[in-house]
Amino acid sequence: MAKHTPQFMPNTKQIEPLRILDENGKLLRGETPPMSDDLAIYAVKTMMMGRGFDEKSFSLQRQGRLGTFAPVIGQEASTLGPALALDPKRDWIAPQYRELPALLHMGLPFESIALYRLGRQAGACIPEGVHVLPHQISLAAQIPHAVGLGWGLKLQGKDGVSMAFFGDGASSEGDFHESCNLAGVMKAPVIFLLQDNGWAISTPRAIQTATTDFAARALGYGFPGFAVDGNDLFALYAATTEAVARARAGEGPTLIESRTFRMWAHTTADDPTRYVDPKVLEQWKKKDPIERVQKYLAAKGKWNDAMTAQFKEEVAAKVEKAYEYGFNYPPSKVEEIFENVFATITPQLERQRARHIALRS
């Protein structure tokens, strides 16, 4: 019998990601900077804020003063680059849990994040006007919300775009697939921002999926897939800017695969030395996403080490202040348990409240 070959054969090797800035902060041949120096400076500062906040939080957590959280260290460009392509006034972000710089760009205040990490219900509230969906723990569960949100904006004739962040791990969940497929059908203005940081806790990418390219999944939903160097702020910004333009123009979603690396532990509860090869970690250190932009700006005389040191201090002070606020926040009250379960507490729950409080006092 004659041999017949499947029309779709998997790549044997990963496709080259989009790169604009090399590891030394130099523009790659033929590339022009996708953003102004001012925006690049803002980006450096925002990334440093994210890193500074997480460094401080990590040490507080180790002192037992905070709950578990997922530090962004190493993924600052991967999260902020795409967010910079959004307009915080009309666009939205549906975060996973490791996107601090992106959330800062959208306007979420340090104080709110500090409260959340302190396990305070008040920290769960997303302030009015901040276009960020609620903190999410259930992996991939926010992706359908991002689709509905983008689709709904479009139905109402608004030109907003929604961006869902999620990890290589989360991309294995059914919610990812159902969301991409629906967004394709509805041509919803959604950016699927898949951060492949090499790990889902201790599970390496090779066990997460056999595909060479997450971005290839877009073909199965009928929209474009873009693989991007996840430590290259410029590449991420450029790719996302184009995706946002398409989405706003009614051309539907884009899947962006950002190839980055988780430089710290998964969360404060994790010990990555049990599974991360120190050599690989060392290699990624050389690709630091913040330093790269700093070098780019330095070469143009727009940034220097003194500025780094000074801004670090500024961030430290801001973080300090945010946690001060958090630590001094009025203590939790049992009544809070009953708030925001429903718009108005039901008589049934009111009975339970009375009973619960009586038994506790």
């Binding site: 008040a122 769960a124 509230c125 259930s138 689709v147 949100l149 919610d175 159902e178 379960v341 429903f342």
Partner: protein, 325 residues
Amino acid sequence: MPQMNMVEAIRDALKLEMLRDERVVLLGQDVGHLGGVFRVTDGLQQFFGPKRVFDTPLAEAVICGSALGLAFSGLVPVAEIQFLGFTHQAFHQICHQIARTRFRSRGSHPAQVTIRAPFGGGVKTPELHSDAIEAQFVQAPGIKIALPSNPYDAKGLLLQAIRDPDPVLFLEPLRGYRLVTGEVPEGDYTIPFGKLRVVREGTDVTLIAWSVAVGLCERAAEKLAEKGISAHVIDLRTIVPLDVEGLVAAVEKTGRAVVVQEAPRSASFGSEVIATIQEECFYSLEAPVKRVSPPDTPYPLHGLEDHYVPTVDMILKVVVESLNA
């Protein structure tokens, strides 16, 4: 007043509310062009256009999850899951996301979302189409659950559900879809959640039910009346919130109670009704409160279903037990 069956009453509510509030959109499998596999949404896409009524891909989790996103965008979605059993595919989206988003966000991101789904036995459907799994959602605080037993309630409760600022699971009894008809006012009216309905006044024993079991209890009450036994029948209408006061009053009235349901016995809403009665009006009870329900076994293939679901006869027997206790 016009006579309607359940399907018509639900369609009427959807249409009215879509006319009144242009934020309301419908989505689900086959709800658009076909008008739903039971024709509940018949004609609505044609009437309101394809930007108000959406056929979706076959994926329950994203139907529910995107409904929440639609709500975040400012719309008021009413999603249909073709059969309640298939809410299990969307269980995380309903219980963890839709039910909790108000609490999770401390009020900043509520979910004005209605999820409709038919369920219940007696119409020889394939597996998983009949399962009465309402109690599973009761353990997911934050979502209200309405279970109309007749066309009038269906319309009024659905109008309330869509307008309710909280998410609502709206469960429609398959057996009553076309069979049960009744008078339904033409215009707008709502039925508040958490207020049970006294179906029939009685003095000897209280029959407690919701959804399709209400009809069973009514028929049982008629038979009991023939024997000179006066049954007080109540329809809970919503199980979240539960009308605790109404329930207690109804039980105290007779001192005896029987709960009738289509769900398996253990950890069902029937269990909750008994637990509540027991805690709230223990001293008024003259006999143990009993359940008439299927056993803790899966809903069988349709050749066996008549052996599975509660019957009027079973209710009669249990009432007699209660009276003799």
